[in-house]
C-alpha cells in the first residue's frame, strides 16, 4: 500500500498577505458575506470563522477585511509546491489550498517516515503559512483526515483506519442531498459507511458515493496529476496598505528578494533582469525593470539596485500589490580572484555598470565601439557595455590618419575665421545605403587657438565636425 500525506492550508490567502504590524485581519466571502479566514489578533477579539461581516464589525471596529480571491490562493499554492519540490518528488496540487504528497516512494531516500516529515516540516515552516496534515493509505483518506486537523505522524494502518471511521460525514466532499439520504438510513460517520460492501452501495446509491468510498479505502485509484516545477521565478505580494511613497516599497521588495536569492542559489543561477510590476489602485500597472548586467543573486545587491531605479520612478497612483518576475536566468560562473593581487576591488566592473545603469538609465551608460566604415559619424559608435565589443588587434587596422578627440553629434556650420593647416582628406562613400557622404576634411586652427576638424561639401558649404580637444 502506498502511504500518502495531505497538507491543508486553512488560511492561505491570509498568511500570504504582507503584514507588517499586528492588526486584526479577516478574509471574507464576497457573495455570502461570511468570514473564511481570520488571524490570531482577530480571534482574540472574539471573531470566528463563519461569522457574518456585520457581527464581526460589531465585535471589532478596526478589523481589516479583504475579499477572498481563489486565484491568489492557487498561485500561492503553486509556489509552495515549487518550494517543497526541492524536498519531495511526487506532489499533486489540490487547488485552492491543499497538496497531495506521495510518501512511499520517497522513503528510499529518507530513512523513515519520521525523518521525511521532519525535513518537510522544516521546509513548511520557512514558507510561513499555517497548515494541517494527515497521513493515510489513500489520497482521499489523507485529505479527509487533514480536514479534521488530525496532525498526527503515523504509518500504522489500524490507527489510521480508526481515525477515518470517526470522521463526520459533513466534512466529506459528498453533496448535502446524499448526506441527508445516508443519515436517513442511520449512517452518521464515515466508519458506518465503510462497513457496507461496495457492491451493496452501488445497488442503492449513485456513482458519486461509490467512487468516494472506493477511493477512500483504496480500492479505486484516484487520478492525480503530479506537479512539475517551472524554471522561473515569479512572485506576487499583496500589500496590506496602499503605498504612495516609493521608498516604502523597499521592505516588501526585500522579502521577495530573499525568496529569489534562495531560488537562485539552489539552482546555481543568476538573474540578469527583474521585472517589477507595481499594481496601482484604479490605474494600469506600472512596470519597473531592474538590470544587473552580468547577473546577480544576492538579495542585498538587488535591493541596492532597485532602490536606485525606483528613485526616478514617479507613481501615478498608490501601489496595492507587487509582482516580481526574474527574467533571463543565467548559470553562475564563478570568478577567480588572485589572493595575492594586492588591493582587491571593492566592486567588480559588472557591479559598477549595473549600479550606474540602475540610477542613470540604460542608455546613459555606454561603451565606445569601432565599426568598419569610412564615415566618421558611423565609425565611432556608442553601444551598451559588453566588454567584448571590439576584439583586440582588429581595431588598429581601421584607424586612418589624425582624428579629433571629440565628434559633434551634428556637424555645425562654420562661422569663424580659421587657418587651414592640413588637408584635404576626401571621404566619398556611402552611395549604397542612402547615406551619401562627399566631404573634404581639413584640420584648421581658429584665432583663439582652437583646433577644429572641418569639412567642405561639394556645394562649398563649410561645417565643423570635430574638436581636437
Amino acid at each position: 500500500m502506498v502511504l500518502w500525506l495531505y497538507v491543508h492550508f486553512p488560511a492561505l490567502q491570509l498568511d500570504s498577505l504582507f503584514c507588517d504590524g499586528h492588526y486584526p485581519v479577516a478574509i471574507v466571502n464576497r457573495q455570502k458575506g461570511e468570514l473564511l479566514q481570520v488571524n490570531k489578533e482577530a480571534r482574540q477579539q472574539g471573531i470566528r470563522i463563519g461569522m457574518g461581516l456585520g457581527s464581526a464589525a460589531a465585535l471589532c471596529a478596526d478589523l481589516q477585511v479583504f475579499p477572498y480571491d481563489q486565484k491568489l490562493e492557487k498561485q500561492r499554492l503553486q509556489r509552495i509546491a515549487q518550494w517543497l519540490y526541492l524536498f519531495t518528488a511526487d506532489i499533486a496540487l489540490d487547488p485552492p489550498n491543499g497538496l497531495f504528497i506521495r510518501v512511499s516512494h520517497m522513503l528510499s531516500l529518507y530513512t523513515s517516515v519520521t525523518h521525511f516529515w521532519q525535513t518537510l516540516q522544516d521546509a513548511l515552516q520557512r514558507v510561513q503559512v499555517g497548515y494541517q496534515y494527515a497521513f493515510a493509505y489513500s489520497p482521499s483518506a489523507a485529505k479527509l483526515l487533514a480536514g479534521h486537523a488530525i496532525n498526527q505522524l503515523t504509518d500504522d494502518a489500524s490507527v489510521i483506519q480508526k481515525q477515518i471511521a470517526l470522521c463526520d460525514l459533513s466534512k466529506t466532499p459528498l453533496s448535502v442531498k446524499l448526506q441527508d439520504k445516508l443519515k436517513r438510513i442511520g449512517i452518521h460517520k464515515v466508519g458506518d459507511l465503510l462497513q457496507l460492501a461496495l457492491p451493496d452501495i452501488a445497488k442503492r446509491f449513485d456513482i458519486e458515493l461509490v467512487t468516494f468510498v472506493g477511493q477512500l479505502n483504496g480500492q479505486l485509484k484516484q487520478v492525480l496529476e503530479f506537479y512539475h516545477p517551472p524554471e522561473q521565478f515569479k512572485h506576487h505580494l499583496e500589500l496590506l496598505f496602499e503605498v504612495s511613497n516609493v521608498s516604502v516599497l523597499d521592505k516588501p521588495l526585500y522579502k521577495i528578494y530573499v525568496l529569489l536569492q534562495r531560488f537562485l542559489n539552489l539552482r546555481g543561477k543568476l538573474a540578469q533582469t527583474l521585472l517589477i510590476e507595481l499594481h496601482l489602485r484604479d490605474e494600469a500597472s506600472q512596470f519597473v525593470k531592474v538590470t544587473a548586467g552580468q547577473g546577480e543573486a544576492s538579495a542585498d545587491k538587488w535591493l541596492a539596485l532597485s532602490k536606485l531605479t525606483l528613485e526616478s520612478v514617479r507613481l501615478n497612483a498608490p501601489v496595492v500589490a507587487l509582482t516580481l518576475e526574474a527574467q533571463s536566468l543565467i548559470n553562475h560562473a564563478f570568478e577567480r580572484n588572485d589572493l595575492f593581487a594586492g588591493q582587491q576591488n571593492s566592486m567588480s566592473p559588472q557591479e559598477l555598470i549595473a549600479q550606474l545603469q540602475a540610477k542613470l538609465g540604460d542608455k546613459q551608460v555606454t561603451q565606445l565601439q569601432l565599426v568598419d566604415d569610412h564615415r566618421p559619424e558611423l565609425c565611432s559608435r556608442l553601444c551598451p557595455p559588453d566588454f567584448s565589443v571590439t576584439p583586440k588587434g582588429y581595431e588598429h587596422k581601421l584607424v586612418p590618419a589624425l582624428r579629433p578627440s571629440f565628434l559633434l553629434a551634428q556637424a555645425q556650420p562654420l562661422h569663424e575665421k580659421v587657418e587651414i593647416l592640413h588637408g584635404p582628406e576626401r571621404i566619398n562613400t556611402g552611395w549604397w545605403d542612402q547615406h551619401v557622404v562627399i566631404r573634404d576634411y581639413f584640420i584648421a586652427r581658429t584665432e583663439q587657438g582652437r583646433w577644429l576638424w572641418i569639412y567642405r561639401t561639394p556645394q562649398q558649404n563649410w561645417y565643423v565636425h570635430g574638436l581636437f580637444s
Binding site: L402, L407, Q448, L467
Partner: protein, 232 residues
C-alpha cells in the same frame, strides 16, 4: 596662548619650518615641461581641476598620463563630455576600448554621483568629468575621499571658475592656447607654490597640431633642460 596657536594650526594658518612634505606618488604626464613644474607629473590619486577652453588641446595634454597610469586593466571613465569621444582617436593613442566607459548623466547631481561611485569602486583609474554648474567645497571633499578609497584620480574640466570661494583641489591648472602647444599655469597645488604661465610643447606627441612656422620661434624660446638643475 597655546590655545590660540592650536586654533591657528587647525585653520592651517601657521607654517612650520620643520614640516615634511608627505610622499606623493606621481606618474609622468608625458610632457617634460609639465613634469618638471609638477615635480614628477600628476599625482596618482586626487582631484585635479583643469580650466581651459574647449578644443585647445586640454584632453590631448592628459591622454599620455591616462594611458601610463592604467597598468591593471582598469576603466577610464568620461562623464558628461561636451561631445561624443571619438573611438578612432582613442584606439590610435593605444586605448583599449573595452576599458572605456562613456556616461552621460543629465543633471549636475547625477554627474557627481556617478563620479563618486566610479572613483570609489576601485575598478577605475581615471575619471574625466565636465560638470555643468558651480561646485561646492563638500563635493570636492567627497570626491577626494572617494579617490583615496578607490586609488583613482579625477580630472574636472571646465572653462572657467564660477565660484567665489577657493575649492580644495589637489591641483588646479589653467590652460591657454599657444602656437607650439599650450601655456599652462599652476593656480594651486598641495604642498607647493603656484606658478606663472609656462609653455608646454606638444610637438613630440602631436606633430600635426602645431603651427609649423612656430618652430623658428621655438629656437628663441629657451627651455630648461630637465636635468640641468640636478647637475649644477
Amino acid at each position: 596662548m597655546n590655545k590660540l596657536i592650536e586654533y591657528l594650526e587647525n585653520k592651517q594658518l601657521v607654517w612650520h619650518g620643520a614640516y615634511k612634505k608627505p610622499q606623493i606618488t606621481t606618474s609622468s604626464s608625458g610632457y617634460h615641461e609639465l613634469d618638471s613644474q609638477l615635480e614628477g607629473g600628476f599625482a596618482a590619486t586626487g582631484v585635479i581641476e583643469i580650466l581651459s577652453d574647449i578644443a585647445i588641446g586640454e584632453l590631448r595634454l592628459l591622454l599620455p598620463s591616462l594611458l601610463k597610469q592604467n597598468t591593471q586593466q582598469k576603466f577610464w571613465i568620461f562623464i558628461a563630455a561636451p561631445a561624443c569621444v571619438n573611438a578612432q582617436m582613442l584606439v590610435k593613442q593605444g586605448f583599449d576600448l573595452n576599458k572605456v566607459l562613456f556616461i552621460q548623466p543629465t543633471t549636475q547631481q547625477e554627474i557627481l554621483w556617478a563620479a563618486e561611485l566610479c572613483l570609489k569602486s576601485g575598478c577605475c583609474c581615471s575619471v574625466l568629468m565636465w560638470p555643468h554648474k558651480a561646485l561646492d567645497v563638500h563635493q570636492i571633499k567627497r570626491l577626494q575621499l572617494a579617490c583615496e578609497k578607490g586609488n583613482s584620480r579625477t580630472f574636472i574640466l571646465r572653462q572657467q571658475r564660477t565660484e567665489s570661494i577657493s575649492l580644495p583641489f589637489d591641483l588646479s591648472l589653467s590652460l591657454k592656447a599657444n602656437e607650439s602647444g599650450l601655456l599652462a599655469k599652476v593656480n594651486k597645488r598641495r604642498y607647493a607654490w603656484p606658478s606663472e604661465y609656462f609653455a608646454i610643447n606638444m610637438q613630440a606627441h602631436w606633430p600635426e597640431l602645431v603651427k609649423q612656422n612656430t618652430l623658428k620661434q621655438a629656437l628663441h624660446n629657451v627651455i630648461e633642460f630637465p636635468f640641468a638643475r640636478e647637475i649644477i
